[in-house]
Amino acid sequence: MKNVDMPLLKQVANNLMFDMKDSEYITLLEEFDVIIRQMELISQIPGVDEVSPMTFPFDVTTDYLREDIPTTPVPQEIALKNAGHVVDGQIRLPKVVG
C-alpha cells in the first residue's frame, strides 16, 4: 500500500479536481489511519486471496443487447438549459490547450 501522508492526500484531492481546508486533511489523515488498520484486518482473513474479486452481488450474466434503433434526440435548448455558460448552442469553456 502506498504510504499515506499529507502531500499524497493533497495530490489525490487535486487530481480529483477539488481542494480541502488544511484541517480537513488532518481529519482525513486520521481516517486513513483507521482504514489502513481495518484493511490489515482484511488481509489476515484466511483464504482471502484464493477467491476472485466480486463486482456484482450475484451472477447477473444476461444476454440482452439493445437494438440499434435511434430515438428522438433532446432539443438543443433543453439539453443545454442547465449549463451555466452557453454560446452558439455549445457549452463554453476557457480555451483548452494541449
Binding site: M1, K2, V4, L9, V12, A13, N14, N15, L16, M17, F18, D19, M20, K21, E24, T27, L28, E31, F32, V34, I35, R37, Q38, M39, L41, I42, S43, Q44, I45, P46, G47, V48, D49, V51, S52, P53, M54, T55, F56, P57, F58, V60, T62, Y64, R66, V74, I78, A79, K81, N82, A83, G84, H85, I91, L93, P94, K95, V96, V97
Partner: protein, 486 residues
Amino acid sequence: MEYLSLDILSLHQAILEGKITPLELVKQSLEKAKNDQNNAFEYICEKEALEAVNRLDPNKQNNLLWGIPYALKDNFSTKDIPTCASSNILRGYTPIFSSEVYLRLTEQGAILIGKATLDELAMGGTGMTGHKGLTYNPWDPSHKHMVGGSSCGSAAAVASGIVPFAIGSDTGDSVRKPASYAALVGMKPTWGRISRFGLFPFAPSLDHVAFFTRNVMDSAIVLEALSGRDEKDSSSSTVAVEKYSQSISAHLNGKKFAVIKEIYDSINNRNIIASFDKTIETLKQQGARVDFVSMDLKLCKAIYPTYIVISCSEATSNNANLDGIKFGPRFDGKDYEEVMTKARTEGFCEMIKRRFVIGSYSLFKENQAEVFLRAQKVRRLIVDATNNILKDYDVIYLPAAPSTAPLFQGEKGDKLSNEYLISDNHLAIGNFAGLPSIVLPLGFDKGLPFGVNLTGKRFAESEVLSLAKGIENITQLKDLVAKEGK
C-alpha cells in the same frame, strides 16, 4: 380522522368510498409538509402535486396507490422538478428526464408531494450532511436525536405522518437503519428488482431502490408497484414480479430463522436484546425454528472496511460528472481545470471529499490489489458465507442496530470495536449479496424506537415479507406515527 396516518389499503378504500378525495388528501399532506419541523424536504412540490391530482385518470382508481401522496428522496431524477441530492454542487439543477420509479408511481396515480432531504449525495448515515442542515427524528421533538441516513427526509416524512410511504435508496443501510430509528418498515428488495434508472448512483454494485412504510402489507404494495424489468437499467432483473400483496402469509410454523451469533453478541443494549430474545421465544412457540449460527468473526469485522472501500471507490467515479460544466453552479477560471476545481471545492461538503480521496486511493494501480480488489474478494467471502447460511434457513434474523437513534452530539465511539464494526454495519451484508432485507419495529427504549431485521434469499421477497408479517403480528407494532410534542 387522520387519513394520512392510515395504512394504504384503508386509505385506498376510503378514497374509493368517497370518504376523502385525492385532492383533499394531497392538500392535507402538502399542508403538513409545509409545517414540517424536521427538515424532511428539499422541495415541496405544491404546484406539481395539484396539477398531478387534476390529471388523475379515474379509470385507474382501482390501483392501490391511486391518489395517494408520497415523498421521494431527492436523489431520484424528476423531470422539471428541482433535484439536488442535498448537495450544493447541484443547486439549481432541474432534470430533463425522470427516474423509472417516479414514472411508474405517476402512472399508477400516486402523487409526489415533496423531494426529501438526504445525507449529501446519499453518502452518509446520520442525516447531518445535507446542505440544508440536520434532519431530525420525529420521535424526539427536542431535536437532539438523529433519524439516521442517508434517507433521512423520507424516513421523517413517513414517521411524522405526512405521507404513508416514501422512497429512498439503500447502499449500506440507508433505508433500513433509519427505519429502525423511526419505528418504520424499511425494505430493500433484491438487487435489480427495482430499476435504478434515474437514481443518482452512489455505488451501483451496492445501490438499491428502497422504501419506507408503516406496516408490512404496505411494503408489499409499494414493492409490487415498483418492481419489474426496465430496459433502461441494464442491471434490472427479468425475474417475474409476484403479486406480493396477495402472497403474504404470516404462517411461521416450520419456518427457519438463523441468528448470526457474532453479530448478536456484538450488541450491548440489554433492552434491545431482551426484546429480540422475547420474539425468538414467541417464534418457537409458533412452530418456527430459531438457531444461532456462526459467521467467522474476522468476516464480520471486515464488513465495514469492505463497505467503505468498495462504496468510496465506486462513488468517486460516479460523481466525477459533477463539474459545474453541464449543470450545477458554474464558476469561471483560467482553464477547464480551474472551472471544475472551483465547482467541486465549493459544491461538495468535506465529508464527501474525504470519501472520494479514500476511494481514489483504493483504486490506485499500486494499491488496487491490496485495497480495492481485496475488498472485492472479501465481499465474495462474506456473500458466500451468507448464502451458505441461507441454504438451510429461510431468513437471517437480527436486531437492526445496536442502539436507538444516536444523539447528534453523541460520542464517536471506537471505530475498531466490535460494537462499531459489526453491530452498526451488519445490514451491509444485504447490499453485498443483493438480498431482500427488511427492518420493522421491535420496541421502544426510553421513548425511542428500535427495529429488527430479516434478510432472505435472492428474489424471495414474498417469503421475507411473509415472515416479517409474522413478526409484526407478534410485536403488534405497526402504523406508528410520531406525534408532534409527544
